[in-house]
């Protein structure tokens, strides 16, 4: 294999890998297809092509796979697009492992093209865009090297370095052209089916279950992935929101896990009113990201109304109903990859439910204690409260005590018979569920009603909204205060309530989120209306500025476009001028010789009839004439320009003539000073 061929094959295979990855980020391809293509890529990159001599056998296998996929599609267990993409990936893998020749190269890259198109139909992830660019660049280089390699004779190396420069420019212009086409091509579509959202960076980890179980082993993973994005109205305009986003509450604890006394399900509805509010409700437009991985709606504490939900499924966005369950939980009826909905919450400080609003079984459950609860729990609570009977003050007192006496850890203590006693009297360290459970049960032992709430704590400001991470998952206590309803009391130390992930990782995730948000706004959601707005901005008359609007510092878009056009025109003029100046002038050497002869004539250098410039220079050199050292290289340069195919460069003639002019002037001064004529060589 000659130099350059190996590189071309590696680039070709990596390009195919990028194309397959652009489909794989959707998370919809079967695992076995991912494994097979990954294996084929590894083999191909290692230079091993086991299918080189087994073309027919592998073709039969591919046919069998096609039939299987077709059967799955007909049975309705596999999406047609997913099946087609899977098959394109397998064809690509088969071709990668076959004997590399011109036809195979083309097939690998064309199957890559099909995979990229399939990826566009399957996924709308930002990562898709990166893989698309990767495929475009790698496939272009591989194709170009293949084209050059075919034209280079067998025994010569492929000029890889020389290819890269012009090709990079070409690919750059192609990307610019693609952007221009994307922006300006009118969106007049027959249907509108956008790409479905993918699962993004790995599987979903956050989630709500019907129970909260204490115990378990290992470390709680503090995941920085963003699970919720919300825009609030009115906007608090704070960098950190530090708010409780409640998902559901639990009222029954059996010693190991929390559950609900009431397990009912309401009828599906588009908008659910949990509790009545006034005009000062906080409106939230919430997006639950694919990393969320549950169907429970969350809202700022205390939610009033939830609804207008849309689920993003693999078949596109779909309006979905919601169901109200026990524990104040509201769920989407449809399972989707991501969701968006609206929520209204009571303003901070407003009271929640009153005891009378709750069903009887829930009222009873708020004081229930697990059988066999360690008596030390009640004794400790009584000792700490020291006769305090006000629920709010008691909760605050216990919360402060817990935060002071116990430490926070993400290490779980393992399965023990009584996790609350283990936390309070043995380990004396735990995570938010331990703190919240301990506080709730200690209050109940003293006859005060309380329940456990789960959801998220936090909210970081990103691009005008707030984001919540998977690591912000949290548990806290609702204390029933007479006359105020349920009030939130958090026993977890404040420093450990929000996500504990590394700052750098969070910043990276934030950056990705910002870029991803721009990607969605500028690329995925770009439509005909945006095109019209842009056209109006560029071409329409400038509207009069509003009185209350502060004048912007940035120039208007028209100025940018005009500047761009001016730059293009200036560049074109510069190129044309450069071409004009560097063009070959056919008579320049002759004109140069004429100028030299004129200068020599002005210096009164005698010439014989028909004597050429070359002969004259030779004669003057022989005679030791003072002008000879200047004239000889000048004559040689003239001959090169006239007959040697080396034209004079821009300004070179003037440079030589200037040197000769100076030499002539020096000679004239010398003659005038000394009064001796220069040695005259006689023509022979």
């Amino acid at each position: 294999m000659r130099k350059g061929t190996r590189l071309r094959l590696v680039l070709r295979d990596l390009g195919a890998g990028c194309a397959f990855a652009s489909m794989a980020v959707s998370g919809q391809l079967p695992i076995w297809a991912l494994a097979l293509h990954g294996l084929a890529l590894v083999f191909a990159l290692a230079g091993r092509r086991p299918f080189a001599n087994r073309v027919k056998l592998t073709a039969v296998l591919l046919l069998a796979v096609a039939l299987s996929l077709g059967t799955y599609v007909l049975a309705g267990s596999l999406n047609l697009v997913v099946a087609a993409c899977t098959f394109a990936g397998l064809i690509s893998a088969q071709r990668m492992l076959s004997t590399p020749d011109a036809a195979t190269d083309g097939q690998v890259l064309l199957s890559g093209l099909l995979m990229v198109a399939g990826g566009a139909a399957l996924s709308g992830e930002l990562v898709y865009g990166l893989f698309l660019i990767g495929f475009g660049v790698l496939a272009s280089i591989a194709l170009a090297l293949g084209v050059v390699e075919a034209a280079v004779p067998e025994d010569e190396p492929v000029p890889v370095r020389a290819v890269m420069g012009p090709l990079a420019k070409g690919v750059g212009f192609a990307v610019l052209g693609a952007v221009a086409f994307f922006v300006f091509f009118p969106r007049l579509n027959w249907n509108v089916i956008g790409p479905g959202p993918g699962l993004g960076l790995g599987v979903a980890t956050a989630g709500f279950s019907n129970t909260v179980r204490l115990g378990g082993a290992g470390t709680i993973k503090d995941n920085p992935r963003i699970v919720l994005r919300a825009t609030l109205s009115p906007d608090p305009e704070r960098e950190t929101l530090d708010a409780y986003w409640v998902g559901r509450t639990y009222d029954v604890f059996d010693g190991q896990e929390w559950s609900n006394a009431r397990k009912v399900s309401s009828k599906p509805t588009l908008m659910s009113t949990l509790r009545l509010g006034r005009d000062n409700l906080v409106h939230q437009r919430v997006e639950l990201m694919p990393a969320y991985g549950a169907r429970t709606l969350v809202a700022l504490e205390t939610p009033s109304r939830l609804g207008n939900a849309v689920a993003s499924t693999s078949q596109g966005p779909r309006r979905t109903s919601i169901l109200e369950l026990g524990g104040g939980e509201v769920r989407f009826e449809t399972t989707g990859i991501a969701y968006s909905y609206e929520a209204y919450s009571l303003p901070p400080g407003a009271g929640g439910d009153d005891l009378r609003d709750l069903p009887p079984e829930e009222q009873d459950a708020l004081l229930s204690l697990p059988e066999g609860l360690d008596v030390r729990v009640g004794q400790t609570a009584a000792r700490v409260l020291n006769g305090e009977r006000d629920p709010m003050a008691a909760a605050q007192k216990l919360s402060t005590w817990l935060q002071r006496e116990y430490s926070y850890t993400l290490e779980q203590g393992g399965d023990v018979p009584d996790p609350v006693a283990d936390f309070l009297f043995q380990r004396k360290q735990g995570h938010c569920e331990h703190f919240a459970t301990a506080l709730t049960l200690m209050l109940r032992t003293q006859g005060m009603r309380a329940r456990l709430a789960t959801g998220f704590f936090g909210g970081e400001r990103v691009t005008g909204g707030y984001v919540v991470r998977a690591g912000d998952a949290h548990a806290w206590t609702h204390v029933l205060v007479p006359g105020r309803g349920f009030v939130t009391v958090d026993a977890t130390p404040p420093a450990h309530r929000a996500s504990q992930s590394p700052r750098l990782l969070e910043q990276l995730i934030n950056f990705y989120e910002i870029v991803e948000s721009q990607w969605r706004d500028v690329v995925l959601d770009y439509n005909f209306r945006d095109q019209l707005t842009m056209a109006r901005t560029l071409m329409g008359p400038r509207s009069a500025p509003r009185q209350d609007e502060a004048p912007g510092r940035a120039p208007p878009p028209r100025a940018w476009v005009a500047a761009l056009l001016a730059a293009v025109v200036a560049y074109g003029a510069w190129r044309a001028l450069a071409r004009l100046l560097s063009r070959e002038r056919p008579l320049e050497a002759t004109r140069f010789a004429d100028a030299v002869e004129a200068l020599l004539a002005s210096a009164r250098v005698a010439r014989t009839e028909g004597e050429t410039l070359e002969e004259l220079a030779a004669r003057l050199t022989r005679a030791g004439h003072p002008l000879a050292p200047t004239l000889t290289p000048l004559t040689r340069r003239y001959l090169e320009a006239r007959f040697g195919g080396r034209p004079l460069r821009q300004g070179e003639a003037q440079q030589h003539l200037s040197a000769l002019r100076q030499a002539v002037a020096r000679e004239s001064r010398r003659v005038a000073n000394e009064g001796t004529p220069p040695p005259q060589a006689r023509a022979s």
Binding site: G106, A117, V148, E149, P153, V163, P195
Partner: protein
């Protein structure tokens, strides 16, 4: 339209539509089909990512056209020619190609509108370098081949399209008769061996032994070196410093039909080659030309040229590529 305006218009048209031919390659056809499919998909679904991909695919087509056009500009081509071109066998042909400015990639050179098959290629051509491109061409038949121009084709940058520019370059390439085996005997020589008649060793040359070579059909068996032949396993004949030299005049009869004339030309060429190799003097007698007997490579070339022109009308002048 005034003449000046029409000239300007013609100049503008030639600038906008330079004399190029464009052919879609096999991979290019599939690429266009996929592009069409992606376009339909984008229009049907309104999927912006498909629009983005479509834009990229179409831009690649445009960039491909621009880069290939840049490749074919500022080129100059001249023929270097071939040493000897025989019909129906590959012969080496050379062109010299250079570029005034910029780079060119993946150029394939061939003769335009000629029966010569084959092409030569250059992978990378920097500016200011006179690059010699070598190609193995094949001509189907004997005779002069009129060369009208050199076709320079490039599939740069992606191999989707083959763009061709033809450089008009008039010339003639003379194809010698096909090299075959001479079946027939050349006939009696016009003049016997040089030297004294009756010399018993007249057929054996004279002087010292200079070497051994394979015995050709029809040669005198008395010249076989039996000892060396037995050890080599084949018949070897002795060559001496002064070999016998006879004079043959080969003839091509008048009135032969096309096929017979071709066969005769090939046979005469083969005979002439063999006789000249053996050191004889060979002449040629054709209906339109008579070449006096002579020996040596120059005479063989003379005979081949005469045989190549046989049946064809010679032009008054004109440069020959070989």
């Amino acid at each position: 339209m005034t003449p000046r305006r029409s000239v300007r218009w013609a100049r503008l048209r030639s600038r906008l539509r330079p004399p190029r031919t464009l052919k879609v390659t096999r991979i290019g056809r599939t690429y266009l089909v996929v592009t069409f499919g992606v376009g339909l998909g984008a229009l049907n679904t309104g999927n912006n990512l498909l629009y983005l991909l479509l834009g990229l695919l179409l831009s690649m087509v445009v960039v491909s056209g621009v880069l290939s056009e840049r490749c074919l500009r500022y080129l100059s081509v001249r023929r270097v020619g071939a040493d000897a071109a025989f019909a129906q066998e590959p012969f080496v042909f050379r062109w010299a190609i250079s570029r005034g400015q910029g780079h060119a990639f993946a150029l394939t050179l061939s003769e335009a509108d000629s029966p010569l098959s084959g092409s030569g290629g250059v992978g990378y051509l920097p500016a200011g370098v006179d690059h010699i491109v070598r190609a193995d061409l094949t001509a189907p038949r004997r005779g002069p081949v009129r060369l009208t121009g050199v076709r320079v084709t490039t599939t740069w940058p992606l191999g989707l399209f083959a763009k061709t520019r033809t450089f008009p370059l008039e010339s003639t390439l003379l194809i010698y008769p096909r090299r075959t085996y001479a079946c027939q005997d050349p006939g009696a020589p016009e003049q016997g061996p040089v030297g004294e008649a009756g010399n018993p060793r007249r057929n054996d040359g004279n002087g010292d032994v200079s070497g051994l070579r394979d015995l050709a059909p029809g040669e005198d068996a008395r010249r076989i070196h039996w000892v060396k032949s037995a050890s080599a396993g084949k018949l070897l004949r002795v060559e001496r410093e002064r070999e016998e030299r006879r004079t043959f005049v080969l003839t091509v009869a008048d009135g032969l039909d096309a096929q017979a004339l071709e066969r005769r030309c090939e046979e005469v060429a083969a005979l002439a080659h063999r006789l000249i190799e053996e050191g004889h003097e060979v002449g040629l007698d054709t209906p339109g030309e008579r070449i006096r007997p002579a020996a040596g490579a120059a005479q063989e070339r003379r005979l081949l040229r005469a045989l190549a022109w046989l049946g064809h009308e010679r032009p008054g002048g004109g440069e020959e590529a070989a």
